[in-house]
Amino acid sequence: MARRYDSSTTTFSPEGRLHQVEYAIEAINNAGTSVGILAKDGVVMASEKKVTSGLLAPARTSEKTYKLCPHATCTVAGLTADANILIDQARLRAGRYAYQYQEPIPIENLVEHVCNYKQAYTQYGGLRPFGVAFLFAGYDIHHGFQLYQSDPSGNYSGWKATVIGANNQAGKSLLKTEYGSSSSSGDEMKTDENPAKDETEMPTTVEALRLAVKVLNKTMDGAAASPDKLELFAMTLDEDGNCVHKILNAKEVEAVIAEVESETATAGDS
């Protein structure tokens, strides 16, 4: 029955829904998972690379992680071709802001601009929405390190940790229990005399990378984690206060995977 109201993006259904937008969001649930985690000293984003063919020429650029400006990077889940358009928009906006104000763009400002661009495709012109969800990681002096998620509807929100793409619900539930409890306090039992701290303690970037790999292990459904399936990204500040964007190389990824493996192996040992 709702089929009648499915085709046009710019038409509400009788139940007050925009089906095309919802379908676009569905499309992303088939895409490679991406997890983002806010840390004390940075932001971490880990993505699943969907290996399609051994015949593919080795990529020089990433299919998941994109730098938007000196102090912001995003990861993509969904239609890469759609993502490229939006990433261009984001880069343009960041550059134009820097030209106008001679200052780096505040991250929320950048995210909102991309999202407003996406929203237009849900209201005007009869064009389909973008089939992309983003995780934006950035730093500005107003709010420090930040992590945002956005979807095809043009909605965005700030997160301490979140997951997009395939199996994101499983990833999110793992984050709910594991984010904020450092491995040292994780052994204590939560009893009435010893309630869990109300304030979740932020992990360090190093801890966050490990947690991100843990999440991907869960969402990738038991497939063995390896550097050619995972892309790990970390944003931190150097001693001069400039942003460092780092995509970990194969050796570093191996090291994190190994640490996570040994942690899970010894978990539960008293």
């Binding site: 106008q100 001679q102 200052e103 929320e108």
Partner: protein
């Protein structure tokens, strides 16, 4: 013919302008306020024909207000405001220029001396300065400021320099500008230190 000049000190800036509004042989008013308050912690002294003076200062200050509303109260730094202002002058230059010369000053917590002063002209040049003057007044005041200005001055010393400049103009400048308005921008915001003639007096 407008006198616009400013002095920065440790903790803020002082901006002073004359209050004359005249054209040809006619004096329209003697109590014009030529220092536009841009945001809570910045102000801009503007010189030029009254139409552009008012139009430009309102255009800039309202756009800056819009930024704060659109960005959840986030304030633009003085540096960003000055560059925005300069950008607008540059954009308009090859279309319909704003014939204004500007001294923009503001206070920011995270800036070493707190106060920062920018001098801009109608062609879109912009430069950060310790002190500056626009128009004929520069011929009389710059040498005084060159001599008297010191790093690390306080507000009282800065205002004294401004008053020294005003005395000099009253003595040597051909045009009679009897009324001046002096505003200070510091951590507490923008406030009028002295207005020889009340701008709200109609």
């Amino acid at each position: 013919m407008d006198t616009v000049f400013g002095v920065s000190y440790k903790g803020g800036v002082v901006i002073a302008t004359d209050q004359v509004n005249a054209r040809s042989i006619l004096m329209y008013q003697q109590n014009l306020d030529k220092i536009a308050e841009l945001s809570s912690h910045s102000a801009m002294g503007v010189s030029g024909p009254n139409c552009d003076l008012v139009n430009f200062s309102e255009y800039i200050s309202k756009n800056l207000a819009l930024y704060e509303l659109s960005n959840d109260g986030m304030k633009l730094s003085t540096h960003a405001q000055a560059n925005f202002c300069r950008g607008e002058l540059a954009k308009a230059l090859r279309k319909g220029p704003f014939q204004v010369n500007v001294i923009l000053g503001g206070y920011d917590e995270n800036v070493p001396n707190g106060g920062s002063l920018y001098i801009m002209d109608y062609l879109g040049s912009c430069h950060k300065v310790n002190y500056g003057a626009q128009g004929y007044a520069s011929n009389f005041t710059l040498s005084i400021m060159d001599r008297d200005w010191e790093e690390g001055m306080n507000e009282e010393q800065a205002v004294k320099i401004v008053e020294h400049c005003i005395r000099e103009l009253n003595m040597r400048f051909l045009l009679n500008q009897s009324n001046f308005i002096i505003k200070v921008v510091d951590k507490d915001g923008v406030r009028t230190v002295k207005a020889d003639s009340d701008p709200s007096d109609n």
